[in-house]
């Protein structure tokens, strides 16, 4: 496994080029091009804001103002997480021709899907920043220092899941359909459209089992919720968990590597 990881490091230029290709190819032919990376999250945000402020204003808890800012802090990373997983679970099957015909490290494909998601996430950040400026919400710099740590933890977690899912999906194609539904469920089981504090007390331990809860809460506390970031011990534990998830994901992928070319 360590050997494979070393091999992977040698291929980082390939990953880089493939991510660039992914972004280039994605918007090729559309009029707005890369602007879609800004418009997409903005539209999604507008929909949720519309639903929770106009359609059913009673559903949202008091005390988190402005709501759209709070929402955005959880929605943007979630979009990265879920789209990366959906895309990577299909990446090996879509790239089947490559795996069958060309000798190259297959894990590059799911990894590219996750990094392409990261780029989109980063493109969404200026919009998030613009929101802060618009609402005149100050973000303490000490809190902001935690931001890269959260992103790193999410990256590792997503990579781990992506590697595991992509390899397993080749053998158990049902996972693709299952995953879409599990992700929808997970979205509602994560405090993104509501704060964790609003969930009933008995449900909170279960919500905390959801790996994305820690991430969402951390993003919200660091960015949207005033006051110093107090969840850092929990975040640090989560970083360790993310490393473990990544290691397990890579281990599973490495184990199934030889079967991929035959089954894809």
């Amino acid at each position: 496994m360590l050997h494979s990881l070393k091999q992977l490091l040698r291929h980082r230029a390939l990953v880089q080029s493939l991510v660039a290709r992914e972004l280039k190819a994605r918007y090729r032919g559309s009029t707005l091009g890369l602007l879609w990376s800004f418009i997409n999250p903005l539209l999604l945000l507008s929909i949720y804001t519309f639903v929770f402020t106009t359609v059913m204003p009673g559903a949202r808890s008091a005390g988190i103002e402005p709501f759209s800012l709070f929402l955005f802090c959880g929605l943007l990373p979630w979009t990265w997480f879920s789209s990366s997983l959906l895309e990577s679970s299909n990446s090996l099957i879509a790239g089947g021709n490559l795996i069958r015909k060309v000798l190259f490290p297959a894990e590059v494909l799911p990894i590219v899907a996750v990094f392409a998601g990261l780029v989109h996430f980063c493109l969404g950040l200026p919009i998030l920043a613009a929101f802060f400026v618009y609402y005149r919400v100050p973000v303490p710099l000490t809190d902001l220092a935690w931001f890269p740590v959260i992103v790193l933890a999410q990256l590792l977690l997503t990579l781990g899941f992506a590697l595991m899912l992509s390899a397993l999906t080749v053998h158990f194609r049902d996972l693709r359909d299952l995953l879409a539904n599990v992700l929808t469920l997970a979205f509602f089981l994560t405090p993104i459209i509501y704060p964790l504090s609003q969930a009933p007390a008995w449900a909170r331990p279960f919500l905390n089992l959801n790996p994305f809860t820690t991430l969402a809460v951390s993003y919200q506390e660091v960015l949207a919720i005033p006051g110093p970031f107090e969840g850092w011990p929990r975040l640090l534990i989560f970083v360790v968990v993310s490393v473990l998830v990544f290691a397990i994901g890579y281990f599973v992928f490495d184990r199934l590597r030889d079967t991929l070319a035959e089954e894809v």
Binding site: L14, N97, K101
Partner: protein, 425 residues
């Protein structure tokens, strides 16, 4: 020093049956095997213990029929997939021309694709950059390299794929039947590139159906048949053994095709020069069976051009006949009558034909070029009214070591005056 070392390699694939024999998720992860241990009935053995070695700097050919395991072998050598048992060792960088342009993304430009494809094949970005001009020039795509690949013709696509793969400059090059890309001129360029490779002491492994290429380029060859090595060594010898086997198989296949149709009462066609399959006649006399016999007296359907061929007919007269003619004609695959004759044309006077008898038509030297020919046999009255006419019911194949054109190969020799020095004829 061997560039490629293959030791007793077996490869078993699982058949996709009605029920997929999944193991559990747990066993999949712990053992790296998703299928339960493959049962005999569900297994397909693509390679059954193959061993060979290719010394560094040699060109090695693998021949065999479709489904003989050639491509599987090549993939194992390329490192795509692992043998079920046995060992494959390769020294040096490998590049495999298995599918050209696999991994090209249609939406982005040829330039970007060259970089990504080159990096997938193991080059660094800088290495691709330094070879870029050469790659593009070789593919003859200077004017289109910045267009998206989806606008390329299939020939352009293949040329670019080939050009990238060959410019990886591997120590061991694996080629799977890809030289059929591009036009004549490009094929020549590819062959030159191979020759260049050989000169620089690189190893080439060639999987191909073009036996001509194997005998021209390879230092050694291997014949795979249903996953077993049938012959290896000197290419000429291996190819001859392979061709003999192919001929034997064709012989069998042709023999299975209907020898004598039970009784098709097709009307006699209006234009006798046209080859239409069928059998007709009044049947006072009958052709019971027809055999094609080689020199050694064995019935066959494949004959070497220039060898003797005898057509042996068992015939039967249901009543004593005094008016009868035996005839034979040969048609090419296009339906052209190559030769036709009968006993009447050749001036014979029929006297008597009763009961069972045998008629032979012996050709001392089969003067036809390679190809498939169908044969007419007939017995009829002198005025042409048939007793039993078999129209192109029999097929023989003529093989030849030469690739002459036309139909007939008249016995001939070349002569040269002394100022022309030439050999090999």
């Amino acid at each position: 020093m061997n560039a490629i070392d293959v030791r007793d390699v077996r490869k078993t694939y699982r058949r996709y049956g009605r029920r997929k024999s999944f193991g559990t998720l747990k066993s999949a992860i712990l053992t790296g095997r998703v299928a339960r241990d493959v049962k005999e009935a569900d297994a397909f053995e693509a390679l059954k213990g193959v061993s060979f070695e290719v010394p560094t700097g040699k060109t090695f050919g693998i021949v065999g029929r479709n489904g003989s395991g050639k491509s599987t072998m090549l993939k194992l050598i390329a490192g795509i997939g692992r043998p079920t048992s046995g060992h494959v060792t390769v020294h040096g960088r490998v590049s495999a021309l298995i599918e050209l342009g696999a991994g090209f993304h249609p939406e982005i430009s040829g330039r970007d694709n060259v970089f990504i494809n080159g990096m997938m094949l193991g080059l660094s970005k800088r290495e691709v950059a330094s070879r870029f001009d050469e790659i593009v020039a070789f593919a003859e795509l200077e004017d289109f390299i910045d267009e998206p690949v989806k606008t390329y013709s299939s020939g352009m696509y293949m040329r670019l794929g080939f050009s990238v793969a060959i410019n990886v400059d591997p120590d061991v090059l694996l080629v799977d039947e890809v030289l059929a890309v591009g036009d004549e001129a490009f094929t020549h360029k590819c062959l030159d590139k191979f020759a260049d490779f050989r000169r620089r002491g690189r190893t080439v492994l060639l999987v191909t159906h073009s036996l001509d290429m194997v005998s021209r380029f390879c230092d050694a060859a291997l014949w795979l048949d249903h996953g077993v090595v049938r012959a290896q060594g000197d290419p000429r010898r291996v190819i001859d053994a392979y061709l003999l086997d192919v001929a034997a198989a064709e012989n069998k296949a042709l023999a299975r095709s209907p020898a004598v149709p039970a009784s098709s009462s097709t009307e006699q066609p209006n234009d006798m020069m046209k080859a239409v399959e069928g059998r007709w006649g009044s049947r006072e006399a009958e052709i019971v069976s027809v055999e094609f016999v080689r020199t050694d007296g064995v019935a066959a359907h494949v004959f070497e051009s220039g060898e003797p061929l005898a057509i042996r007919m068992r015939v039967r007269a249901h009543q004593p006949l005094t008016d009868f003619v035996f005839g034979v004609a040969l048609f090419s695959a296009e339906g052209v009558c190559c030769y036709g004759t009968n006993t009447d044309i050749e001036g014979a006077d029929p006297h008597e034909f009763t009961g069972d008898a045998e008629v032979g038509f012996v050709i001392d030297s089969l003067c036809l070029v390679a190809g498939t020919y169908s044969v007419d046999v007939a017995v009829h009255r002198r005025n042409g009214v048939p007793y039993d006419y078999h129209r192109t019911l029999y097929t023989i194949r003529v093989t030849s070591k030469l690739n002459e054109t036309g139909i007939v190969r008249p016995p001939h020799r070349w002569t040269f005056s002394s100022s022309i020095r030439i050999s090999g004829l």
